[in-house]
Homo-oligomer: 125 residues x 2
Amino acid sequence: MKPTDAELEILHVLWTNGPSTVRQVHDALSQNRDLGYTTALKLMQIMVEKGLLTRQEDARSHTYTAAVSEEATQQGLVDRFVETAFRGSASKLVMQVLGNHKASREELDEIKLLLDNLNRHDTPA
Amino acid sequence: MKPTDAELEILHVLWTNGPSTVRQVHDALSQNRDLGYTTALKLMQIMVEKGLLTRQEDARSHTYTAAVSEEATQQGLVDRFVETAFRGSASKLVMQVLGNHKASREELDEIKLLLDNLNRHDTPA
DNA sequence: TGTTTACTACGAAATTATTCGTAGATTAAT
DNA sequence: ATTAATCTACGAATAATTTCGTAGTAAACA
């Protein structure tokens, strides 16, 4: 399932803060942008229908939980993104990220470290 | 300017094949999926309005040219994608790509080579 | 108890993206 | 010179996403 941008925002809140009510999610999102309470509610209801969230109806204010993992979701998004934006070339994507000044020095170092480890554990071709 | 998916498809054709008519773009896209001729035409007209393409009206069938470079466009897409899908963490994105079985063995090797070169030319921290 | 407050449900407007049909014009073919 | 083929222009249907208003209901409170 491919979450939309608005749905992703909500998933991020739930991934970060754990199971939350609509009120809590709305409060979190409101710090970054204008968003009506019922808009958040409606989105989360739709996400339950889509299977992206589950809902506990115990109390009056329902509690929502992410039904998809952050890793699996991001994997799906990356797959799609590599396909549409880079015609399937993952290496081109990585190159673009590395050439990106928006990737901070720290991020670049982290990536290099990551690749070093990958090389170390890999049997050379 | 942020091209949509359909617009990206058209840009890819123009980046690959160079300046083309609607007919040529439509033929190229038709190999992959069903698409009406006037749909391609309409999209390309809109793209001219948006400044994504330029148009030479010399002949009866106009010739369209990409007005944005592949690199700059992909950079913008990556920036946006890192932001929305990875909350700004480029290294998480790269990690996800590397853990991706859809990134072929050849692609991974290519990426490693790339990073090796990056490390070689960089002054260590 | 009656009023305010907080919540869900849901219809539907507004926006954006994609799609194509039809009309009109120009060129090519018979 | 008609007819057929090919092109642009453009309105508009369709679909997907995002947004919010209104209604109804339950709880908290004065």
